[in-house]
């Protein structure tokens, strides 16, 4: 059942805006808190990885589609853009970076719609396999068509003038990624409340009933996949600016799995989980190589994958809703304790249902 937003008074929104304002201040002020390395290698990375994971979480939480194709799609955006602008190793066509960025996003979105059309009639494990195949095909395509991927990648990709050199001055790219993240977050929240979004959530919950009601299920799913591709393509463009290069090795199956891990660790059914998972992933990725003590051959900086794997396992076992899910259950328990067992007209079940949003309920089925 799709729950609509509850009635709200103007006064109930004030804490929301205060909270948002504080968050905005924190994010905007981050550059003065951390050094440029951390700003670039942790925060900017977390923001673009978060957008990539958000495209996956959008599909899973609102469309019920867990896609492994997002890496392949953002690779298409990245390679398209990198080939069009001045760079070493690619086509080096010398386009204006802004036009090339738009072209990259358009091509990747079109590619996503095509993939969506192919995959839209499959569900569950079959959908997973088709989308995995998309990523693998894209990886091998760029690994083998060296005229499009350069020899070992396209390097020194020219970003728009406003970005500058992200290694020497990471600030513009950080704010670009931040604005893009906010737009993606707000955009998805908005889309979820449109008739299309509501229909999509209906299809997620019961495709057969929606079909019976006259909705074109396959079309809705394909379009949603296209939206996911659009979001992923933004991540693809940002990733190229971030590393100043794009190579087939960076969009391999391991990266496909990384995006899934980020989404699951953050929370596969909560949009915020994308960026939280990405931040945790970036922190562990960077600092596990510094902090992990050497214990013979068992432990050491080379065990990043083991660490992230263990965390993944613990999260999946302890909280299928990811880190956000843990927070939600703590919050729900707190509310229950504060309200007492029965208060006014609300039951305990009501309180719990209020605390978690509909797609979180969906995740528990």
């Amino acid at each position: 059942m799709i729950a609509g937003p509850g009635p709200r008074s103007r006064s109930s929104r004030i804490p929301q805006w205060v909270a948002l304002g504080v968050l905005a201040l924190f994010l905007a002020g981050a550059p003065s808190v951390v050094d440029s390395f951390t700003l670039s290698q942790i925060l900017t990375k977390a923001l673009w990885l978060g957008i990539a994971a958000a495209s996956l979480i959008f599909l899973s939480s609102y469309g019920g589609m867990i896609s492994l194709g997002q890496t392949g799609i953002y690779a298409v955006a990245g390679f398209t853009m990198a080939n069009l602008v001045h760079a070493e190793g690619g086509k080096n066509l010398g386009w204006d970076p802004v036009a090339a960025t738009a072209a990259g996003i358009v091509v990747a979105t079109a590619f996503g719609l095509l993939c969506g059309a192919i995959a839209s009639r499959s569900y569950g494990i079959y959908f997973l396999m088709i989308t995995l195949a998309i990523s693998v095909i894209v990886f091998y395509f760029f690994a083998q068509v060296t005229t499009l991927s350069g020899y070992g990648g396209i390097r020194s990709v020219t970003p728009p003038a406003v970005i500058g050199n992200p290694v020497l001055n990471p600030l513009p790219l950080y704010y670009t990624a931040l604005v893009a993240s906010i737009l993606v977050y707000v955009g998805i929240r908005y889309l979820a409340r449109t008739p299309f979004g509501i229909a999509l959530q209906g299809i997620r919950d019961d495709p057969a009933r929606m079909q019976a009601l006259g909705y074109n299920v396959a079309l809705h799913r394909a379009l949603a996949f296209g939206v996911g591709a659009f979001i992923a393509s933004i991540a693809g463009i940002l990733s190229v600016w971030y590393t100043t290069q794009v190579s087939p090795g960076g969009v391999n199956v391991a990266q496909t799995i990384n995006i899934l891990i980020i989404a699951v660790v953050g929370g596969l059914y909560r949009l915020e989980g994308a960026w939280i998972g990405a931040l945790v992933f970036s922190l562990i990725d960077n600092y596990s190589r510094v902090w992990l003590p050497n214990v013979g051959d068992w432990l050491g900086p080379e065990r990043f994958e083991t660490v992230i794997g263990v965390i993944f396992l613990v999260i999946v076992l302890a909280s299928p809703g990811g880190l956000v899910g843990i927070w939600e259950s703590v919050w729900a328990r707190r509310n229950r304790a504060m309200r007492g067992p029965v208060e006014g007209s609300g039951t305990v079940a009501d309180v719990v249902d209020e605390a978690v949003e509909p797609h979180a309920v969906q995740s528990r089925r």
């Binding site: 709200r8 290698q41 190793g89 083998q144 060296t146 390097r155 100043t244 290069q245 190589r289 927070w327």
Partner: protein, 463 residues
């Protein structure tokens, strides 16, 4: 009724963001100072600890650290190279190994790890990386973003990293993939009498380059490559590719398939064409591998292959090299590893150059970089100098597979030829404007043969 729970989404977001930022700030506060005092030189070493080459992590680090232990008073902090090293002093300057970069053979991770070592941990000088794509990316990073730091390649072998990127502060004291195949084209044409050849290799960058070395030389001396077959990387059944190869249509087959696939390919090739005719087949640097010799056995006896290492060399130079590596028993057993040799060569060159400039890394390290460009490493398997693109000119080796010493044993390896002064351009065949090696490049054209053709030196090591 008001529903304050509705604020949970925003509060949740806020709380996690605050926690995240606090975590970042906490991590940040532990960041060591990046200032360089005049008495300390900070070195970062980058290799792969994940991905296809992750298992060589300690071999790589050990190659570099063994030099510090043997010549500059370094003390190992533990039994494994990754445990670190302290106490090394070069020209009166303390050598501080700030950290080990841990990449996964992708360019993006290599850049991230290089940035961590340089920008976060403050390395003045970098040694690494390991694989081809990584090398190109790091050379670009060095050229564009860190012109005032010095980068020495680990063991990455992509031609472009030096031939095309030409970063003035990126030095490679190891050969590229094509150089490792030098000597074989002329050997096939002149000694084995091949006039036409087919080549087969995995469909990705390193085999393209490795086979390019054979094709360039074989075609330059007058041979013709009639067929190029590229099985996808990760192929486990080569039957359809074996079927494409008809030995009656060529004089010889050059095999550049690598890893576990090589054993499968050679077995399937024999099932279709009978026991290997070793006058009509040869291999690249993947061939002198004990696992392969064990798996295929005596049918390989007599075949020749290229090797960057003369493993049977017992000269004082080679023995000294092996003794240096003895500090790490884990890498000693792999003394024949090209990975170890690449990192050893880089640190040896750095030690020599730093000593020559008296440890001076002031003035944006220009004195050190000028010195490195003219440094000659007297390596265990020959001298290594640099060309004008700061790319190694070295001696390659041709090895022949010999009969097992005992019946039922594995075949051995005998070094037969030294290919002197192999340069990256193959005497002008490759240049900054030639297309990078791929499925169809280089094209097969007769040219002036590389300078080493006709100057190969027959050698005999051991009994």
């Amino acid at each position: 009724m008001l529903r304050p729970e509705r604020n949970v989404g925003f509060l949740r977001l806020l709380a996690t963001a605050v926690l995240g930022l606090l975590a970042v700030a906490a991590c940040n506060s532990t960041t060591p100072s990046t200032t360089t005092t005049s008495t300390v030189i900070k070195i970062g070493i980058l290799s792969d600890c994940l991905g296809d080459f992750g298992s060589f992590f300690n071999d790589d680090l050990g190659g570099a650290l063994a030099v510090l232990a043997a010549h500059y008073g370094g003390k190992a902090s533990g039994p494994l190279p990754k445990d670190g090293m302290t106490g090394a002093v070069i020209a009166g300057k303390q050598i501080n190994i700030v950290g080990f970069g841990c990449s996964d053979s992708t360019a993006s991770k290599a850049i991230e790890e290089t940035r961590r070592l340089v920008e976060q941990l403050g390395a003045d000088i970098m040694i690494g990386p390991l694989s081809g794509d990584e090398g190109i990316a790091v050379a670009n990073y060095a050229k564009t973003n860190q012109p005032n730091k010095t980068f020495l390649n680990g063991i990455s072998g992509a031609q472009d990293a030096t031939l095309k990127v030409q970063a003035p502060n990126f030095f490679r004291f190891n050969p590229d993939g094509a150089q490792w195949s030098s000597g074989l084209g002329a050997y096939a044409y002149n000694k084995l009498g091949w006039r036409t050849a087919a080549v087969i290799g995995d469909d990705y960058a390193f085999p393209y380059t490795s086979l390019a070395g054979f094709i360039a030389e074989f075609c330059a001396v007058g041979g013709n490559v009639t067929q190029r077959v590229w099985p996808p990387l990760g192929t486990t059944d080569y039957s359809s590719f074996v079927a494409q190869l008809n030995p009656t249509t060529y004089d010889g087959l050059f095999v550049g398939v690598g890893g576990a696939g090589l054993i499968t390919f050679l077995k399937q090739y024999q099932q279709v064409n009978g026991s290997l005719k070793t006058q009509h087949i040869m291999g690249n640097t993947f061939w002198p591998d004990p696992q392969l010799l064990h798996a295929i056995g005596t049918p390989m006896v007599g075949a020749v292959a290229a090797s960057g290492i003369a493993a049977d060399d017992t000269s004082a130079q080679t023995t000294a090299y092996k003794n240096e590596l003895a500090i790490y028993p884990a890498t000693q057993k792999d003394a024949a590893s090209v990975f170890t040799l690449g990192y050893w060569s880089a640190m040896t060159a750095l030690g020599l150059a730093l000593t020559a400039v008296n440890g001076d890394i002031s003035g944006n390290q220009k004195a050190l970089q000028t010195q490195l460009a003219k440094t000659v490493v007297d390596g265990p398997y020959g001298k290594i100098s640099l060309d004008s693109n700061r790319q190694a000119v070295f001696d390659n080796w041709i090895v022949q597979i010999t009969a097992p010493a005992t019946s039922g044993g594995d075949p051995g390896i005998h070094t037969i030829l030294r290919i002197p002064n192999v340069d990256q351009t193959f005497g002008g065949f490759f240049s900054p404007t030639t297309p990078a090696p791929d499925r169809t490049n280089p094209t097969c054209t007769k040219k002036t043969p590389p300078p080493w053709v006709g100057n190969e030196v027959p050698v005999t090591f051991g009994p």
